[in-house]
């Protein structure tokens, strides 16, 4: 999984890039999140409803939005149905 880590680190310097990461644990305003082998502590004040197990978009040390698993599946399904 090493390349994963490399890519994530390189990409997160992009100004508007946000990467999906999974919440491991929440402590107050902060959460421990992971993507591959990359683990970070991020601020989750913008997402008061977030809970462990959720995927969130991480930008500049903050979770900016939850990733909706249902909608993600739906998007892939619709793309598969394009013909």
């Amino acid at each position: 999984m090493r390349p994963d880590k490399k890519i994530a680190v390189a990409e997160e310097t992009d100004m508007c890039l946000a990467i999906p990461m999974k919440i491991k644990a929440i402590k107050g305003d902060f959460a421990e999140v992971s993507s591959g082998r990359l683990i970070r502590t991020i601020n989750i004040q913008m997402l008061p409803q977030a809970k462990a197990g959720d995927f969130v978009l991480v930008h500049a040390g903050f979770a900016i939005q939850k990733v909706d698993p249902q909608e993600a599946k739906e998007t892939l399904r619709l793309i598969d149905e394009i013909r």
Binding site: A60, I64, E71
Partner: protein
């Protein structure tokens, strides 16, 4: 699901591409991708080589580093020269040229310039250096604005006295509105930025579809996202009915992240802002509200930005036209000859999200 690899599926990509090429009109179609991250992804995944040649993606002004005015950089450079000041910034800002210098050059001359990943890091730096004044260069769009707002709120809560924010935060929809007023601009559709929209939602783009009749689609940044976004735009063009479509449903809703918007409103007010290459755009920037003025670098250091129009570098750099989508980077006389990533003349070559940088790297 990890929400990355699934959206890089080659088979599905080829499927959408075939469909795109089927429904695309014979004429040239100009799609402006507003966000620099779209520009990067587009080339990185080789989508430019796969799309029909009459579908042109034009890189817009959506790279916050690229549109920082040289007046802003000059002020930062001036602050960096003060031994009492530590400048804290995102890495991309180091090479952005001001009228005389860059932060990187100042750093080589011993100025105190520190690169961070998050605005929150500036609080720790201020606490560790009580004898210094710490200035955070707040650059970014709506995606970054709430992260800065929350950092300012934290600084107030922790009663930090030696931290100041120099805001060049900017708003995307007013800039799009400004572009649409330029009659030379021939845009058929906008691919709207996914992560700005994660915060603001799809609603703020409505005026573009309604007033200007131009198709909009918010899209994510993986290859499937971008391709589906283009497909959805072509569908709108085929039906000749402009609306704001949303491809990035897993992260973007109609009204966005209201909590984040609340933090932005608590700390910032809208103000006119200077965009490099575009000039001054009314109500397109964010400045600190009065009840946070103790953290406002502009109030603390009382410098005035000079008019950016009169002080653009006097060379042949065409970043302004590139940002408006009037020419592509190859249309600039300096591109790849003098202006390269290791010697950037204009801001579009500096940032990884800049159109010229992407063209240079991938073409």
């Amino acid at each position: 699901m990890r929400y990355v690899d699934e959206f890089r599926n080659k088979e599905l990509s080829m499927k959408i591409l075939a469909r795109i090429n089927e429904i695309s009109p014979a004429r040239r179609v100009n799609i402006m991708e507003v966000c620099g991250t779209h520009t990067q992804s587009f080339f990185r995944f080789g989508l430019d080589k796969l799309l029909a040649s009459n579908i042109k993606l034009i890189a817009g002004p959506g790279c916050p580093v690229c549109v920082s005015s040289s007046g802003y950089i000059d002020c930062a450079v001036k602050l960096a020269a003060d031994e009492e000041i530590i400048i804290v910034t995102f890495g991309d800002m180091l090479q952005v040229p001001g009228s005389k210098s860059t932060l990187e050059k100042e750093r080589a001359k011993n100025a105190n310039v520190t690169v961070v990943y998050s605005a929150l890091d500036s609080l720790k730096i201020a606490q560790k250096n009580p004898g210094k004044k710490v200035v955070f260069l707040a650059v970014g769009f709506e995606t970054t604005a709430p992260t800065v707002a929350l950092s300012i709120i934290s600084a107030k809560k922790e009663k930090i006295k030696n931290l100041f924010f120099f805001s060049s935060l900017k708003l995307i929809p007013p800039a799009m509105g400004y572009l649409l007023k330029d009659k030379r601009l021939a845009i058929d559709a906008f691919l709207c930025p996914g992560h700005v929209s994660a915060i603001i939602g799809t609603r703020p783009y409505q005026f573009i579809a309604k007033k200007y009749g131009i198709a909009c689609c918010v899209a994510g940044f993986e290859p499937l996202d971008i391709l589906e976004g283009i497909y959805m735009l072509l569908q709108q063009l085929a039906q000749a009915k402009a609306r704001v479509a949303n491809q990035y449903l897993r992260a973007v809703t109609k009204s966005g992240n209201k909590e984040a918007q609340k933090f932005i409103r608590r700390v910032f007010k809208t103000a006119d802002a200077d965009w490099r290459g575009l000039g001054r755009i009314p109500k397109s920037g964010l400045k600190l509200k009065d009840n946070f003025s103790q953290f406002d670098a502009e109030k603390q250091f009382r410098f005035k930005l000079r008019n950016p129009r009169t002080q653009e570098p006097a060379n042949k750099c065409k970043c302004g036209d590139v940002l408006k989508g009037l020419i592509n980077p190859k249309g600039c006389p300096l591109f790849a000859k003098i202006c390269k990533p290791d010697n950037p003349i204009g801001p579009c070559m500096v940032s990884r999200e800049g159109a010229c940088n992407a063209y240079y790297k991938y073409r």
